[in-house]
Symmetry: C2
Subunit: 383 residues, 2 copies
Amino acid sequence: MKTKPSIIGTGSTKFGERWEDGIREMVSHACVNALKSAGIEAKEVDSLFVANCFASSINGQSNLNALCSDELGIQNAVSIGGADAAGAYAMAQAANSIMSGQSKISLVLGVEKMSDLPITDITKITSEILEQDFEASTGATLAGLYAMITLRHMKEHGTTGKQLDMVSVKNHSNAVENGISQFKFKVTREDVAKSPMVADPIRVLHCAAPGDGCCAIVMCSEDISKRYKNKARIIGTGIGSDLMAVHEREDITRFNSVISASKNAFANAGIRLQDISFAEVHDSFSIGEIIAIEDIGFAKKGSGGRLIEEGHANIDGKIPINPSGGLKGCGHPFAATGIRQAIEAFMQLNKMAGKRQIKDPKYALTESIGGTGATAVVNIYSL
Amino acid sequence: MKTKPSIIGTGSTKFGERWEDGIREMVSHACVNALKSAGIEAKEVDSLFVANCFASSINGQSNLNALCSDELGIQNAVSIGGADAAGAYAMAQAANSIMSGQSKISLVLGVEKMSDLPITDITKITSEILEQDFEASTGATLAGLYAMITLRHMKEHGTTGKQLDMVSVKNHSNAVENGISQFKFKVTREDVAKSPMVADPIRVLHCAAPGDGCCAIVMCSEDISKRYKNKARIIGTGIGSDLMAVHEREDITRFNSVISASKNAFANAGIRLQDISFAEVHDSFSIGEIIAIEDIGFAKKGSGGRLIEEGHANIDGKIPINPSGGLKGCGHPFAATGIRQAIEAFMQLNKMAGKRQIKDPKYALTESIGGTGATAVVNIYSL
């Protein structure tokens, strides 16, 4: 089998409204902790991959790799985008660098500082990841488009309001046990159903909140990983895309990007769907988790909601989904999210997840989305 | 020797103020031409690398890889940043993808659409690639900081106003023969010396103008390149960085990023400085070309200006610099520039450069800068 990269160290800020920190402070905190946990010094790092989405639009900073090089003293650094999938895209670039022999050790970080602007501005700025000519310019927002996707999914496949609510109930419950999560409290189905309407049928508690945070991982080559007891091997990566504008797609209840990324990741990994012990998926809106479950194949089209309603996606269920708390419970600093998912894979596989630990996981899967399903990255991990 | 990637096709829009085109139209034009020149169809492309700097800030588009995937029908696409070096950074990522075996054929594009805003806004937006806390927030601009670098270089090393002017005279003269250049007219030394002052001692004709444009190249693995007669092999790449804020550097007349990137590129390529037949360097301001000449090693520190004044950097000189016309003559759509330099290397090595053709070039070098020397990428090419 081909050489595969491994994760050997992780670090993260707590997610939330971090008024006391700028991008530099968050990057420094997450990266120092990631390097420390791997016992690696910055000078041993061959390459740095900096994932970010909105530093230009929100923070007026369009040279983030230079800033991170300066802050961390690592020369070979590049900026990677990809909307809210940027973190996962950066991991794929680091993997290429390691598999090509250009790097032995890479540091990968995802950072976002979104609370510097009021939420009305953030809604406008997050629309920058949509298609401009026919979507954003007409006033469409992420929530507005996801609302249409949700309604259509309810109509076509019978997905219920209760099922959508239960995504949030489960993820909030899981997030209580996650040290980095922003929303460390449980919600009931009634709380979700009574929360303020954002874009019918999406309510506040169906949405992942944008926020501040930085996650970092140390990735290395196969030979170096042999020195480590705690590690997660990235055995498969798939990247997919779809038509960018939602209205151009034939069927808006499935994300072709996810279907294609997932297929490629499994082909790459050489394992089967039923080998997966748990998954972290992109629940930026509750329907996103249901579509992920269906499009990856954990449930048939139209029965993703039932899987959740019946408890099979709980931590002790047959296929735990978002044991970390997901984007919903952890908060969603866009480019940090993909790396946060990888950190959860690392922690679960190495049985470091404390009270949210899944029993004896063998293989993990993470799924990250850019925009309203325009792009997707799927990673598969083993011990 | 290790497998190296090759460039086998190129495409470009003309640089300038392209009022009739958006990002989509420019991407489509450059990529279709690049694929056509290589005889490759989009479906044969394994990965797409999209370099850009200001689509978020200027065009309100923060998901450019999704947009390019949609436009070109290529699924595996990623967005790469790195300020005005973004194009060169994207090439390095494509090289990793090819050398790792993940891709056989990659398409790499750099695109920028900057003329949608007036120049006063552009000056503020280009400051986003500077350090924020101590530089941009105090009102420093790219031209302002380069003016300080220029003054210090004049004081420390005796570089003269005439030498700075001659950079512009040479590059304008070369640009006349380049089909894609924005400024297809010659200027005299007097024209430069009398042009309006921007930031003393930098005048308008010492500055590269921001603009619109897209460049694309097809890169492939060594085995595929064997089918091609016209190609340029990328035999060495080096990436370097320096402290981001100019005032923190010990000596502002040299760019440590360039020194380090150049050293790594030569080590990687296994050739010597004297093997290089010509170079494309980052003359965003005239002093940038002089510093590049010195820091790469074509002239000793302090004698870069003399090299130009004495005509040695002319197309028929001993080491031609910027035969394309450089950033000054071609125009400078930030992320397109790094790819444009690679296209010049391809054209010159394959003797396709028409009236600006250098006699029998064997090895080419390109140098791309992010910001005021915060980062640099150096590539070395052979036939």
